[in-house]
């Protein structure tokens, strides 16, 4: 039986054509599409229909394409990204997009459990081989035969490799799946790594964050849905549309940074006035993410707006990047007073030694020139 297209499914659920077109427009906006994507999922140049406006293109795609099957793995994770996604406050976009994917496997959301759900996954992987999108949440522990993270007696690495083999593309959501995240923090006992450290033969999109911003996730998915391609990525495989700017670049407190007005503590006048949190350890200047522009909770706020410095949670190894409340420019290690004192004393001792040698040198020459007279 041929499956229905997305538009057909939506129509069946009572979505009018007018609402459908509005939805298409919303997706275009979410993706920031001002031009057609240039690279398709397989890396070849995208042969998009010329002459179409982006919204038309979206409408055409949705009325011809079928729903996308998704397999969602949770490895060394906290389910925070899933949680964020299900609580997403933008139903017009997120929910509708999510309704257009078929989540074939998701440990937390599945009604089934145990061997049943594992069997379902196997079935889905076979049925949709080469078509499904693999979403990974959580890091992978490849060391010591993977004993630190097993599901149904299989290591996280096995599970990932198996699922990745038939995937059309992989979306690593959250800092753990993208860069190793919290499990990778020093001393990293499980040897945690991100997906792209292990899977190199499939396109991997990183959507780092702790958790990833739901709208970014849905945006990427929508892009894949519409074009069947990946969005433009940066060197860390993050979609440029969302990770092109730092939090600092788009921060509403930025003018205070420029003016040199800083909160010195969390309860001073500067903090009450909403001044810049740079001195309180804000990592905004080095953190590439869309928090400041897309915000959280349906565009209500984001950490810096609500008075807390950015932790840099979407950056690799943010957990080891110095204290959260330590100024970003401050050194990570500094000599102890003892070490500094020892260096001072050591240098001084060598200096005294050198001076003594030099004195001896001076003395030995003291008579010589006069003897030549």
């Amino acid at each position: 039986m041929p499956e229905k297209t997305i538009y057909e499914e939506m129509k069946q659920k009572g979505v009018t054509r007018r609402d459908f077109l509005k939805f298409c427009g919303a997706i275009v906006g979410a993706l920031g599409l001002t031009r057609l994507p240039t690279i398709s999922a397989d890396g070849a140049a995208y042969k998009g229909a010329k002459g179409f406006q982006p919204a038309q293109l979206v409408a055409q795609a949705l009325s011809t394409k079928q729903r996308v099957p998704v397999i969602w793995l949770e490895l060394q994770d906290c389910a925070g990204c899933s949680e964020a996604l299900t609580r997403s406050q933008s139903p017009t976009l997120g929910n509708l997009v999510l309704s257009q994917i078929t989540v074939e496997y998701h440990e937390t959301l599945s009604a089934a459990a145990g061997f049943q759900v594992e069997e379902a996954k196997q079935a889905a992987m076979q049925k949709y081989a080469g078509q499904y999108v693999l979403v990974v949440e959580g890091s992978i522990s490849p060391i010591d035969d993977g004993v630190y993270c097993t599901i149904g007696g299989r290591s996280s690495l096995d599970i990932l490799k198996e699922a990745a083999a038939g995937a059309a593309a992989i979306i690593a959501t959250g800092n753990c799946a993208a860069f190793g995240g919290l499990p990778k923090a020093k001393p990293n006992p499980t040897g945690a790594v991100g997906v792209w450290d292990l899977i190199t033969d499939k396109p991997v999109i990183n959507i780092p964050g702790c958790p990833a911003i739901p709208e970014v996730f849905t945006g990427v998915l929508a892009h894949f849905l519409v074009f069947g391609t990946l969005p433009a990525l940066d060197s860390l495989h993050r979609p440029v549309a969302f990770y092109g700017n730092t939090v600092h670049d788009r921060c509403l407190r930025r003018p205070f940074y420029e003016a040199g007005k800083f909160a010195e503590s969390f309860d001073d006048e500067g903090a009450r006035q909403g001044w810049c949190l740079y001195k309180l350890g804000c990592k905004g200047p080095t953190t590439y993410n869309a928090c400041a522009s897309m915000k959280w909770c349906g565009g209500l706020s984001f950490p810096v707006q609500s008075g807390h410095p950015c932790l840099g949670c979407s950056e690799p190894d943010f957990w080891d990047g110095g204290g959260f409340y330590q100024g970003q420019s401050a050194p990570l290690d500094k000599p102890t007073v003892l070490a500094a004192g020892a260096a001072l004393a050591g240098g001084a001792v060598v200096g005294v030694g050198a001076a003594a040698l030099n004195h001896a040198q001076k003395k030995s020459h003291k008579q010589e020139p006069k003897a030549k007279e």
């Binding site: 940074y257 950056e315 690799p316 100024g327 001072l344 240098g347 060598v350 001076a355 004195h359």
Partner: protein
């Protein structure tokens, strides 16, 4: 090994080592010079040595340092004196009154201070870079400097220049990723810290010797230094 690792290394262990090398090296040089012995000056003074030294330092600081119209000699090559002066002023503003650097001091010393708005610091940094390029060109064309400039002098210029340029590029997110520039900046700073005790960049320490000697020598003769 990605940029984040390099950054963590450069901001962490390497910085610590560089700082210790700096402290030990400077202590070594200071002690070596002080313990070389000083002849007691038995010449009866006409004026005040302490006063002379005080004026010498005040002149060095207030008439920072070489405003060309202060001394007639400076009329001959004002651009270079301005470049030298602005370079040091800029260095002070950026290193002490720039917020990012103040936080470094704060983490090392345990206390901080008020800083200048970014645009001022930023412009001073630009001025400092331009001044340094001017000094660089001057070293290439001035006959005296051509004579006295060797590999060590070029190394000094380069090793001071790299942290300044990477720092400036970093605040403006120019051309490279922020972490890459931050890493290069910190690596360059670490190299600088290690290089200072080995080179003439340590002149900021011996400045206090030579200026005091100058002031005392003139002060005891009752001549304004």
């Amino acid at each position: 090994m990605n940029w984040t690792d390099v950054l963590a290394f450069a901001r962490g262990p390497l910085f610590q080592v560089a700082l210790l090398v700096f402290i030990a090296g400077m202590a070594y040089r200071l002690v070596r010079v002080i313990f070389l012995g000083w002849q007691v000056d038995k010449v009866p003074a006409r004026g005040s040595k302490v006063g002379g030294a005080a004026i010498s330092f005040l002149k060095g600081i207030l008439i920072w340092p070489f405003v060309p119209w202060v001394k007639n000699t400076f009329k001959k090559n004002p651009v270079i004196y301005l470049a030298g002066g602005l370079f040091h002023l800029g260095l002070f503003v950026v290193l002490v009154l720039g917020t990012a650097h103040m936080l470094v001091w704060k983490s090392l010393l345990g206390f901080g201070w008020k800083t200048l708005p970014l645009p001022i610091v930023d412009w001073m940094a630009a001025v400092t870079i331009v001044a340094m390029i001017t000094l660089f060109i001057n070293r290439l064309i001035n006959p005296v400097l051509k004579l006295i400039t060797g590999p060590a002098e070029w190394a000094n210029l380069a090793i001071v220049f790299v942290p300044m340029v990477t720092g400036y590029m970093m605040t403006h997110h120019l051309w490279f990723r922020y972490e890459a520039l931050f890493s290069l900046h910190m690596l360059a700073v670490d190299v600088l810290l290690i290089w200072i005790p080995l080179s003439r960049i340590s002149h900021f320490m011996f400045y206090f010797f030579s200026k005091a000697i100058h002031g005392a020598d003139f002060g005891k003769r009752a001549v304004e230094p």
